[in-house]
Protein backbone atom coordinates (compact mmCIF):
# COMPACT_ATOMS: atom_id res chain seq x y z
CA UNK A 1 0.00 0.00 0.00
CA UNK A 2 1.48 3.36 -0.92
CA UNK A 3 1.63 6.19 1.59
CA UNK A 4 -1.27 8.21 0.15
CA UNK A 5 -3.54 5.14 0.23
CA UNK A 6 -2.44 4.46 3.82
CA UNK A 7 -3.25 8.02 4.89
CA UNK A 8 -6.67 7.83 3.21
CA UNK A 9 -7.36 4.46 4.89
CA UNK A 10 -6.41 5.96 8.28
CA UNK A 11 -8.72 8.91 7.59
CA UNK A 12 -11.58 6.55 6.70
CA UNK A 13 -11.13 4.55 9.94
CA UNK A 14 -10.88 7.69 12.06
CA UNK A 15 -13.74 9.58 10.40
CA UNK A 16 -16.04 6.53 10.45
CA UNK A 17 -15.59 6.21 14.19
CA UNK A 18 -16.18 9.94 14.66
CA UNK A 19 -19.32 9.87 12.54
CA UNK A 20 -20.73 6.70 14.10
CA UNK A 21 -23.40 8.42 16.24
CA UNK A 22 -23.21 11.87 14.65
CA UNK A 23 -25.05 11.26 11.38
CA UNK A 24 -28.44 11.55 13.02
CA UNK A 25 -29.70 13.19 16.22
CA UNK A 26 -29.92 10.85 19.18
CA UNK A 27 -33.68 10.30 19.49
CA UNK A 28 -33.77 7.10 21.47
CA UNK A 29 -34.64 7.76 25.09
CA UNK A 30 -32.84 4.53 25.92
CA UNK A 31 -29.62 5.94 24.50
CA UNK A 32 -30.17 9.30 26.19
CA UNK A 33 -30.60 7.56 29.54
CA UNK A 34 -27.58 5.35 28.97
CA UNK A 35 -25.44 5.45 32.09
CA UNK A 36 -22.40 4.43 30.06
CA UNK A 37 -22.55 7.74 28.19
CA UNK A 38 -22.99 9.60 31.46
CA UNK A 39 -19.74 8.25 32.86
CA UNK A 40 -17.68 7.83 29.69
CA UNK A 41 -16.29 11.42 29.58
CA UNK A 42 -14.96 11.06 33.13
CA UNK A 43 -13.42 7.67 32.29
CA UNK A 44 -11.79 9.08 29.16
CA UNK A 45 -10.34 12.18 30.82
CA UNK A 46 -8.98 10.26 33.82
CA UNK A 47 -7.48 7.62 31.52
CA UNK A 48 -5.83 10.25 29.30
CA UNK A 49 -4.41 11.93 32.41
CA UNK A 50 -3.09 8.73 34.00
CA UNK A 51 -1.58 7.44 30.74
CA UNK A 52 0.08 10.84 30.30
CA UNK A 53 1.52 10.88 33.82
CA UNK A 54 2.67 7.26 33.83
CA UNK A 55 6.21 6.85 32.56
CA UNK A 56 6.45 4.07 29.96
CA UNK A 57 7.63 0.85 31.57
CA UNK A 58 7.59 2.15 35.14
CA UNK A 59 3.94 2.76 35.72
CA UNK A 60 4.10 2.59 39.52
CA UNK A 61 7.31 4.60 39.95
CA UNK A 62 7.21 7.98 41.70
CA UNK A 63 8.43 10.44 39.08
CA UNK A 64 8.04 14.20 38.55
CA UNK A 65 5.08 13.47 36.23
CA UNK A 66 3.28 11.47 38.92
CA UNK A 67 3.96 14.24 41.43
CA UNK A 68 2.54 16.71 38.91
CA UNK A 69 -0.63 14.60 38.92
CA UNK A 70 -0.81 14.74 42.71
CA UNK A 71 -0.25 18.51 42.53
CA UNK A 72 -3.05 18.77 39.97
CA UNK A 73 -5.44 16.90 42.27
CA UNK A 74 -4.47 19.25 45.11
CA UNK A 75 -5.09 22.15 42.73
CA UNK A 76 -8.57 20.82 41.95
CA UNK A 77 -9.37 20.60 45.67
CA UNK A 78 -7.92 24.03 46.52
CA UNK A 79 -9.31 25.98 43.57
CA UNK A 80 -12.82 24.55 43.37
CA UNK A 81 -11.99 22.31 40.37
CA UNK A 82 -10.74 25.20 38.27
CA UNK A 83 -8.82 24.02 35.21
CA UNK A 84 -6.28 26.79 35.70
CA UNK A 85 -5.82 25.75 39.34
CA UNK A 86 -5.20 22.15 38.31
CA UNK A 87 -2.69 23.04 35.59
CA UNK A 88 -0.89 25.68 37.71
CA UNK A 89 -0.56 23.49 40.82
CA UNK A 90 0.43 20.51 38.71
CA UNK A 91 3.08 22.52 36.86
CA UNK A 92 4.50 23.91 40.13
CA UNK A 93 4.61 20.41 41.64
CA UNK A 94 6.33 19.13 38.48
CA UNK A 95 8.98 21.85 38.55
CA UNK A 96 9.66 21.30 42.25
CA UNK A 97 9.90 17.56 41.72
CA UNK A 98 12.34 18.08 38.85
CA UNK A 99 14.58 20.01 41.25
CA UNK A 100 14.34 17.21 43.79
CA UNK A 101 14.84 14.18 41.50
Amino acid sequence: MNTIALIVAMAVVTLSSRLSFMLRPVKSQKLKDNRFLEVFPVALFVTLAVVGFAPPGEVLAVTPSVIAGVGGIAGAALFKRSMLGVVAMGAVAYLLARLWF
Binding site: I4, M10, S17, M22, K32, R81, V87
Partner: protein
Protein backbone atom coordinates in the same frame (compact mmCIF):
# COMPACT_ATOMS: atom_id res chain seq x y z
CA UNK B 1 -30.74 30.01 19.49
CA UNK B 2 -30.11 33.76 19.26
CA UNK B 3 -27.24 35.35 17.34
CA UNK B 4 -25.99 36.85 20.62
CA UNK B 5 -25.81 33.44 22.24
CA UNK B 6 -24.04 32.01 19.22
CA UNK B 7 -21.49 34.79 19.11
CA UNK B 8 -20.86 34.65 22.87
CA UNK B 9 -20.47 30.87 22.79
CA UNK B 10 -18.09 31.14 19.85
CA UNK B 11 -15.97 33.65 21.77
CA UNK B 12 -15.92 31.43 24.86
CA UNK B 13 -14.87 28.51 22.63
CA UNK B 14 -11.92 30.56 21.39
CA UNK B 15 -11.07 31.78 24.89
CA UNK B 16 -11.13 28.28 26.40
CA UNK B 17 -9.12 26.70 23.57
CA UNK B 18 -6.40 29.30 23.00
CA UNK B 19 -4.33 28.20 26.05
CA UNK B 20 -4.11 24.76 24.43
CA UNK B 21 -2.75 26.10 21.14
CA UNK B 22 0.95 26.35 22.21
CA UNK B 23 1.27 22.71 23.38
CA UNK B 24 -0.69 21.55 20.31
CA UNK B 25 1.71 23.56 18.15
CA UNK B 26 4.72 21.88 19.77
CA UNK B 27 3.10 18.49 19.19
CA UNK B 28 2.40 19.39 15.54
CA UNK B 29 5.97 20.56 14.93
CA UNK B 30 7.30 17.32 16.43
CA UNK B 31 4.93 15.28 14.24
CA UNK B 32 5.94 17.17 11.10
CA UNK B 33 9.64 16.68 11.81
CA UNK B 34 9.23 12.99 12.70
CA UNK B 35 7.20 12.41 9.53
CA UNK B 36 10.04 13.81 7.41
CA UNK B 37 12.59 11.76 9.35
CA UNK B 38 10.43 8.66 8.70
CA UNK B 39 10.62 9.30 4.95
CA UNK B 40 7.40 11.23 4.20
CA UNK B 41 7.50 14.37 2.06
CA UNK B 42 6.27 17.66 3.59
CA UNK B 43 3.17 17.38 1.36
CA UNK B 44 2.31 13.92 2.76
CA UNK B 45 2.87 15.08 6.34
CA UNK B 46 0.45 17.94 5.69
CA UNK B 47 -2.06 15.64 3.98
CA UNK B 48 -1.94 13.33 6.99
CA UNK B 49 -2.75 16.17 9.40
CA UNK B 50 -5.42 17.50 7.04
CA UNK B 51 -7.28 14.19 6.66
CA UNK B 52 -6.56 12.13 9.77
CA UNK B 53 -6.64 14.94 12.39
CA UNK B 54 -5.44 12.66 15.17
CA UNK B 55 -2.11 13.36 16.83
CA UNK B 56 -1.91 9.96 18.48
CA UNK B 57 -2.78 8.01 15.30
CA UNK B 58 -0.38 10.09 13.23
CA UNK B 59 2.45 9.54 15.73
CA UNK B 60 1.67 5.83 15.66
CA UNK B 61 1.87 5.91 11.86
CA UNK B 62 5.29 7.55 11.93
CA UNK B 63 6.53 4.95 14.40
CA UNK B 64 5.07 1.94 12.60
CA UNK B 65 5.27 2.86 8.93
CA UNK B 66 8.39 0.76 8.51
CA UNK B 67 6.39 -2.31 9.60
CA UNK B 68 3.78 -1.89 6.85
CA UNK B 69 0.15 -0.80 6.56
CA UNK B 70 -1.33 -3.56 8.76
CA UNK B 71 0.16 -2.46 12.09
CA UNK B 72 -0.56 1.20 11.29
CA UNK B 73 -4.24 0.53 10.59
CA UNK B 74 -4.56 -1.74 13.63
CA UNK B 75 -3.13 1.02 15.82
CA UNK B 76 -5.44 3.58 14.19
CA UNK B 77 -8.45 1.36 14.89
CA UNK B 78 -7.45 0.90 18.53
CA UNK B 79 -7.06 4.62 19.00
CA UNK B 80 -10.30 5.39 17.11
CA UNK B 81 -12.49 3.11 19.25
CA UNK B 82 -12.93 5.83 21.84
CA UNK B 83 -14.59 8.03 19.22
CA UNK B 84 -17.69 5.80 19.32
CA UNK B 85 -18.84 6.82 22.80
CA UNK B 86 -17.45 10.33 22.23
CA UNK B 87 -19.67 10.78 19.17
CA UNK B 88 -22.69 9.35 21.02
CA UNK B 89 -22.23 11.81 23.90
CA UNK B 90 -21.69 14.75 21.55
CA UNK B 91 -24.67 13.80 19.39
CA UNK B 92 -26.88 13.71 22.46
CA UNK B 93 -25.56 17.11 23.59
CA UNK B 94 -26.11 18.96 20.29
CA UNK B 95 -29.66 17.71 19.69
CA UNK B 96 -31.33 18.46 16.34
CA UNK B 97 -28.34 20.02 14.59
CA UNK B 98 -28.41 19.86 10.75
CA UNK B 99 -26.41 17.13 9.02
CA UNK B 100 -23.77 19.42 7.52
CA UNK B 101 -23.01 20.88 10.93
CA UNK B 102 -22.78 17.36 12.35
CA UNK B 103 -20.27 16.40 9.67
CA UNK B 104 -18.22 19.51 10.42
CA UNK B 105 -18.25 18.79 14.18
CA UNK B 106 -17.24 15.17 13.56
CA UNK B 107 -14.24 16.08 11.42
CA UNK B 108 -12.35 17.50 14.42
CA UNK B 109 -13.76 15.26 17.15
CA UNK B 110 -10.53 15.18 19.12
CA UNK B 111 -9.93 14.67 22.85
CA UNK B 112 -9.22 18.34 23.56
CA UNK B 113 -12.23 19.93 21.83
CA UNK B 114 -14.50 17.13 23.06
CA UNK B 115 -13.29 17.67 26.62
CA UNK B 116 -13.77 21.41 26.46
CA UNK B 117 -17.26 20.96 24.96
CA UNK B 118 -18.34 18.49 27.66
CA UNK B 119 -17.01 20.93 30.24
CA UNK B 120 -18.92 23.78 28.57
CA UNK B 121 -22.11 21.69 28.56
CA UNK B 122 -21.69 21.00 32.29
CA UNK B 123 -21.60 24.73 33.02
CA UNK B 124 -24.65 25.38 30.78
CA UNK B 125 -23.12 26.85 27.62
CA UNK B 126 -26.10 28.02 25.49
CA UNK B 127 -24.72 27.13 22.02
CA UNK B 128 -22.47 24.09 22.08
CA UNK B 129 -22.24 23.98 18.27
CA UNK B 130 -20.75 27.48 18.13
CA UNK B 131 -18.51 26.70 21.09
CA UNK B 132 -17.10 23.53 19.53
CA UNK B 133 -16.76 25.15 16.12
CA UNK B 134 -14.51 27.83 17.62
CA UNK B 135 -12.55 25.22 19.52
CA UNK B 136 -12.15 23.06 16.39
CA UNK B 137 -11.04 26.00 14.25
CA UNK B 138 -8.37 26.94 16.78
CA UNK B 139 -7.07 23.40 17.21
CA UNK B 140 -7.25 22.42 13.54
CA UNK B 141 -5.53 25.54 12.20
CA UNK B 142 -2.82 25.24 14.86
CA UNK B 143 -2.32 21.56 14.05
CA UNK B 144 -2.03 22.18 10.30
CA UNK B 145 0.30 25.17 10.54
CA UNK B 146 2.57 23.51 13.09
CA UNK B 147 2.74 20.32 11.00
CA UNK B 148 3.94 22.40 8.05
CA UNK B 149 6.52 24.16 10.26
CA UNK B 150 7.80 20.83 11.60
CA UNK B 151 7.88 19.29 8.12
CA UNK B 152 9.91 22.23 6.80
CA UNK B 153 12.32 22.02 9.74
CA UNK B 154 12.48 18.27 9.17
CA UNK B 155 15.81 16.68 9.95
CA UNK B 156 17.15 19.88 11.53
CA UNK B 157 14.87 19.46 14.55
CA UNK B 158 16.03 17.35 17.49
CA UNK B 159 12.66 15.92 18.46
CA UNK B 160 14.11 14.13 21.50
CA UNK B 161 15.06 17.49 23.00
CA UNK B 162 11.49 18.83 22.71
CA UNK B 163 9.73 18.04 25.98
CA UNK B 164 5.96 17.94 25.47
CA UNK B 165 5.82 17.96 29.25
CA UNK B 166 2.83 17.39 31.38
CA UNK B 167 0.46 19.99 29.98
CA UNK B 168 -1.93 17.57 28.26
CA UNK B 169 -2.36 15.16 31.19
CA UNK B 170 -2.92 18.13 33.51
CA UNK B 171 -5.53 19.57 31.14
CA UNK B 172 -7.37 16.22 31.07
CA UNK B 173 -7.14 15.99 34.86
CA UNK B 174 -8.66 19.48 35.02
CA UNK B 175 -11.45 18.44 32.65
CA UNK B 176 -12.16 15.34 34.73
CA UNK B 177 -12.27 17.44 37.91
CA UNK B 178 -14.74 19.84 36.35
CA UNK B 179 -17.21 17.24 35.06
CA UNK B 180 -17.20 14.62 37.83
CA UNK B 181 -20.33 15.16 39.93
CA UNK B 182 -22.32 12.04 40.77
CA UNK B 183 -21.32 9.07 42.91
CA UNK B 184 -21.28 6.87 39.81
CA UNK B 185 -18.89 9.28 38.11
CA UNK B 186 -16.58 9.30 41.15
CA UNK B 187 -16.52 5.50 41.19
CA UNK B 188 -15.81 5.51 37.46
CA UNK B 189 -12.93 7.96 37.98
CA UNK B 190 -11.39 5.58 40.54
CA UNK B 191 -11.90 2.61 38.25
CA UNK B 192 -10.32 4.55 35.39
CA UNK B 193 -7.13 5.07 37.39
CA UNK B 194 -6.88 1.33 38.01
CA UNK B 195 -7.80 0.48 34.41
CA UNK B 196 -5.26 2.95 33.00
CA UNK B 197 -2.46 1.59 35.20
CA UNK B 198 -3.31 -1.97 34.13
CA UNK B 199 -3.60 -0.93 30.47
CA UNK B 200 -0.23 0.83 30.49
CA UNK B 201 1.29 -2.34 31.97
CA UNK B 202 -0.27 -4.95 29.69
CA UNK B 203 -1.73 -3.43 26.50
CA UNK B 204 0.03 -2.19 23.35
CA UNK B 205 0.27 1.62 23.35
CA UNK B 206 -2.40 2.06 20.67
CA UNK B 207 -5.03 0.18 22.69
CA UNK B 208 -4.33 1.61 26.16
CA UNK B 209 -6.60 4.67 26.12
CA UNK B 210 -9.59 3.15 24.32
CA UNK B 211 -9.30 -0.12 26.26
CA UNK B 212 -9.02 1.46 29.70
CA UNK B 213 -11.64 4.19 29.19
CA UNK B 214 -14.27 1.88 27.70
CA UNK B 215 -13.68 -0.83 30.32
CA UNK B 216 -13.82 1.64 33.22
CA UNK B 217 -17.00 3.27 31.87
CA UNK B 218 -18.62 -0.12 31.25
CA UNK B 219 -17.96 -1.28 34.83
CA UNK B 220 -18.51 2.13 36.45
CA UNK B 221 -21.89 2.64 34.79
CA UNK B 222 -23.21 -0.43 36.65
CA UNK B 223 -22.87 1.36 40.00
CA UNK B 224 -25.65 3.58 41.31
Amino acid sequence: MTATNKSASFRRGLRDTLPLAPPIAVFGVVFGALAIQAGLTPWLAFLCSLLVVSGSAQMAMVGLIGSGAGPVLLATTGLALRHLPMSATLSEMIGDTPLLRRLQLSWVLVDESYGLTVNAATRGEPDLVAFKTASDLTLYSTWLLSTVAGALLGAQLDTVAVDLGIVFPLVFLGLAASVVRTRTQWITAGLSVVAAVVAVSVLPVAWQISGAAIAAAAVGSRFK
